[in-house]
Symmetry: C2
Subunit: 271 residues, 2 copies
């Protein structure tokens, strides 16, 4: 069964495919490639610059394609900040939100749980989002009419309570800015069936695909989460801030496989 998309969403989905393919040419060319050992003074050091370059070059390529195709749209990216295009006053609120390589640490370590995240925000909310993992050949697309993995419909699994749930965060020892945040996370994690860390954007994709039930994170930027919101919501899940508000601006974010689970997790997060 193919994807059920409105003509407008279909146009954006096709364009996201084009962006993903352009991005993958750069990201894959530097993934799992050795870092150079460089001499700094008398010290032999590993040169991490190629990774930073992969991140920046990927974002540049994406920006160029967006500016060519949608010159009136704005762009918000991790590497090059916000770009305002005002050639057409009627739709300047539309913004492409980009994280060229979400999970740079995983990328550096040769682990394929990083992804290229791109969302299109209509001025209020991301109406379509993509996470592409080109090494695994897995492309997740989320829209208001459903979510898809490589064109095949995906859904969150029927997990309605925390004692059945798999919970994840990227790094409980480093990710939470305050002890209060860590304690809130631990209240949830300690009741979960299973805890698994270190997933970056792939954890959210696994909620949409039905293998993980809860992701809790703190300190996110808008570009870390906007692409993932339509993917999880289109698969039947719920994404909000820890207080139940929109997660679109990042900060403290919680994503759940079901509304029932989301209610239980929110209660625990808030004390």
């Amino acid at each position: 069964m193919g994807m059920l998309l409105t003509p407008q969403l279909k146009e954006y989905a096709d364009f996201l495919d084009k962006l993903a393919e352009a991005a993958a040419q750069i990201t894959l060319s530097m993934f799992k490639k050795p870092l150079n050992a460089i001499n700094k003074g008398k010290k032999l050091q590993l040169d991490f610059d190629p990774v930073t370059k992969a991140d920046q070059q990927t974002e540049s390529v994406i920006r160029t394609l967006i500016n060519q195709t949608y010159p009136s749209h704005n762009i918000l990216g991790e590497e090059h900040g916000k770009e305002h295009n005002h050639k057409n006053d009627t739709d300047t609120s539309w913004t492409w939100v980009i994280d060229p390589i979400d999970g740079t640490r995983a990328y550096i370590c040769g682990i394929p749980t990083w992804g290229t995240l791109i969302a299109l925000n209509d001025g209020i909310y991301p109406i379509i989002g993509m996470m592409d993992q080109p090494y695994l050949k897995e492309r997740y697309l989320g829209t208001t009419t459903g979510s898809y993995l490589n064109g095949v419909k995906i859904n969150c699994r029927p997990c309605y309570k925390l004692t059945d749930a798999t919970v994840s965060t990227t790094d409980p020892t480093q990710f939470f800015a305050t002890d209060d945040d860590l304690r809130a996370y631990n209240r949830v994690a300690s009741k979960a069936r299973l805890v698994r860390n270190g997933l970056d954007c792939y954890g959210y994709a696994m909620i949409a695909a039905g293998f993980v039930d809860v992701v809790i994170e703190s300190g996110l930027e808008a570009y870390d989460i906007q692409a993932l919101i339509p993917i999880i919501e289109g698969a039947g899940g719920v994404v909000t801030s820890w207080t139940g508000k929109s997660a679109a601006q990042g900060g403290q974010v919680v994503a759940c496989a079901s509304a029932e689970l989301h209610k239980e997790v929110l209660t625990l997060l808030n004390g």
Copy 2:
């Protein structure tokens, strides 16, 4: 360039390929497949039994092939314990050491950092070891004459000090049995260039492939580590216990990309 193996190692390497392919038929058939929702009384619960079954069935298939091909060898596996074969008294010290799915949590979560681990121990030390990750189509082989990824020689990268190093452990919040262990780990992690958690056996493979420099773990079983020792040592790395002794029986294990790094890490682990 092909692999440089003695005729005996070549025979075992070919047999490991056969074992990996038989194992992958089972592991892949249940990986990224939805869990059933089952009714227990009035409660809807997710059924994790298929994952346990994948683990057990994989080990059974591996044991059957070993018993057919090397009936005099012993077998030590995670799921079915130790099996002594005494049909030939001259080589009863040879033991195949098996972890059918190392990283069961990753497997359950749809994350391809689990692996099938198989080593052959000559009575003293693992002389050949394999980690197979069939979803990624990555098969790591370690021997006394070198280590290989899909038949291509791999080496640890030239990382000689901790401030240049990427350090990993599976889960710092749950993995270390005692606060002393966690403090020892943190003394190393706090000096590292980069820390990345949640890798299971894939972290060790990434040392051999040159993308991670240090893995520190505690509470390992022999079958968690024996296959990985020849892979890291054949790539130029060092694997020992935290006190510098053989890591073959598991327990507290530290693996490093170079002898220099190993020396620095051991000093920090021991206080």
